[in-house]
Symmetry: none
Subunit: 125 residues, 4 copies
């Protein structure tokens, strides 16, 4: 995984995990990879993964069973969707619209782009 410099790595990992859950790569109430395994996969310091897991535990997206490992919370996926959707509608959309106006991008232009995007990405991976 490639990391961006503008955001803390552990936050980027959190986002990445959200994506994995939303795309059902991690699903149900299965066990998630151990801190060490994920650290190896992502090529980062285990402390950094730990921090991401910490944050997810606080939000009850994952739950820890001592000595066994971390597991997806039962309603993890729906919780993420609800949160993100709210954030999307109340924070991101106004910003998006303002940008569109400042940059002169019309809603029609955007729709077209969306359609062509959708055709190239029928299923989300």
């Amino acid at each position: 995984m490639e990391f961006n410099d503008k955001q803390a790595i552990y936050l980027q990992i959190v986002e990445n995990i959200y994506d994995r859950i939303l795309t059902d790569e991690w699903k149900g109430d299965e066990r998630v990879p151990s801190v060490r395994d994920l650290a190896v996969e992502l090529q980062v310091n285990p402390n950094t993964v730990m921090r991401a897991y910490d944050l997810l535990q606080n939000k009850e997206i994952i739950v820890n069973k001592r000595g066994v490992g971390n597991f997806l919370g039962s309603d993890a996926k729906s919780k993420i969707i609800t949160n993100r959707r709210n954030h999307f509608l109340t924070h991101e959309l106004p910003l998006l619209f303002r940008n569109m106006q400042l940059l002169g991008v019309s809603i029609e232009e955007l729709s077209e782009q969306f359609i062509s995007y959708s055709q190239n990405n029928i299923s989300i991976q």
Copy 2:
């Protein structure tokens, strides 16, 4: 001006200046406020404004005339628009679309929102 603490103040100042230029609050090739004046206006240390101006000088958005002050570069506005538009189309849109799909927001829904947004914000300020 209120500052968020997820991003460095000087970067927020830069963004704020971009906005001022895009909305023609600062325009043409006029002189921009002196470091000290802007620092007073924004209630920050002059060094912090200086750092923002430094970055803008690097991007040739503003140019310095020794002992006189800083001036908007001739094509400052178009330069900002071009950069932002490119970034918007190549980076933000794909992310947006992906999010819409993951969160189940349709393009029609978004269009409606946009229309109601536009009606409440007829002119950009």
Copy 3:
């Protein structure tokens, strides 16, 4: 290190770092000294070193790994050489030649000087 006061210290540090890279004192894609360490070595304030590193990061001579340190960019040396060589050929040489003519220094005279210089400085350090 002794600093001249006709040029900002941080710029002299940048030049000094270029020299260290060109002479392979810093090489490969190794880690460069931490801001604090170099500040101690050069007897300046860490902020001053920081500013030099900032500039070098902008030019992608060094790259930062969060929480770890700064590293030489992979092609740092060749990048410096290319830039300097271009500047030398297009800017410095014409000035040099003009000066030689104005001051009545012949190319033969210069060659002689160069040869005697070379004999006294067989290896660059």
Copy 4:
């Protein structure tokens, strides 16, 4: 005249005046332009020209006759040549040679460049 940002304008004016004297644009012990006239010609603040003239007066390159104007010192040209030549030989040449070695520019290469330069600039203007 175009000014570089790396050096104070008044110093660039001094250099420019040296050039005018060396190329005999200003010669003998004639009167040199008034501060105001030169300021208009160079499009700078008269104070800035004043500062350049001050420096030249200190070096006795020009002399002031109260109420009349500034005149070239009798041996202005030879004084400049001597100074520059010394500086050139003791300071610039070693730097040049070091650069040539670091950048891999040979003396033969430089000679060729010089010859082609000379052919295109038979008389100095």
